[in-house]
């Protein structure tokens, strides 16, 4: 599931669509507003996002609305949470190591 998510978001247009949906549910027509993209292309991108579990489709009367899938967001959040904590720790290790390297040079 995680791989499918990052594959789906590997495309700039789909990232843009996903970002728009993060602001709130919208129809495919509203999503195309301001984007140079055909209706079939939009449908295809939405299908990829839906298959990746990032977007859900809802029938509202005669219309179909698209919204961000909370579980998809959670997977993204897991990666972020991990590496947000990870890098400051590793970079602190890098700081300690490089200080040590220069100390060693001076000693020689």
């Amino acid at each position: 599931m995680e791989q499918a998510i990052f594959k789906a978001l590997g495309d700039a247009t789909r990232r843009h669509i996903f970002e728009k949906l993060a602001d709130g549910p919208q129809s495919a027509t509203a999503l195309r507003d301001g984007m140079a993209i055909s209706q079939p292309a939009m449908s295809q991108h939405l299908a990829v996002l839906r298959e990746a579990g990032l977007v859900q489709e809802k029938r509202v009367g005669r219309f179909t609305e698209y919204a961000v899938e909370p579980q998809g967001l959670a997977v993204l959040g897991g990666w972020l949470a991990k590496y947000r904590a990870y890098w400051p720790e590793r970079l602190a290790g890098l700081e300690a190591l490089t200080v040590e390297m220069e100390r060693g040079e001076k000693a020689r």
């Binding site: 990052f6 890098l94 700081e95 190591l97 490089t98 390297m101």
Partner: protein, 113 residues
């Protein structure tokens, strides 16, 4: 040290001031013996870009499951008081996607909380 991780989505940014000179930091990033000491849990699969001592871009894979792949790019410049200003960009990258020549900048994604 300070860090900023303002971006959210599939890319993370950090910026730190290191005490050591860029040339020393470069060696700690580039030479495997040193790199293993501070970054033991990422396997470097490929060096994607190398401009000593300013930019190093690595294709990495987590040593532990789920073995997620990513592109980690380090930008170094002389910092205050002879140290190094280090910027790190970590881009999550699925295994089966081609390696972008120059991606990263547009991967920043804003998500509603």
């Amino acid at each position: 040290m300070s860090d900023s991780d303002a971006a959210s989505g599939t890319v993370l940014h950090f910026e730190v001031e290191l005490t050591a000179r860029p040339e020393t930091v470069w060696r700690a990033l580039r030479e495997e013996g040193y790199r293993r000491a501070w970054l033991p849990d990422q396997t470097v699969l490929e060096v994607l870009q190398e401009e000593r001592p300013e930019r190093l871009s690595l294709l990495v894979e987590e040593a532990e499951p789920p073995h997620a792949r990513g592109i980690v790019t380090f930008d170094l410049e002389p910092g205050r008081q002879g140290g190094t200003r280090l910027r790190l960009v970590h881009l999550h990258r699925p295994a089966h996607l081609p390696i972008p020549a120059n991606d990263g900048g547009d991967m920043v994604m804003r998500l509603a909380a």
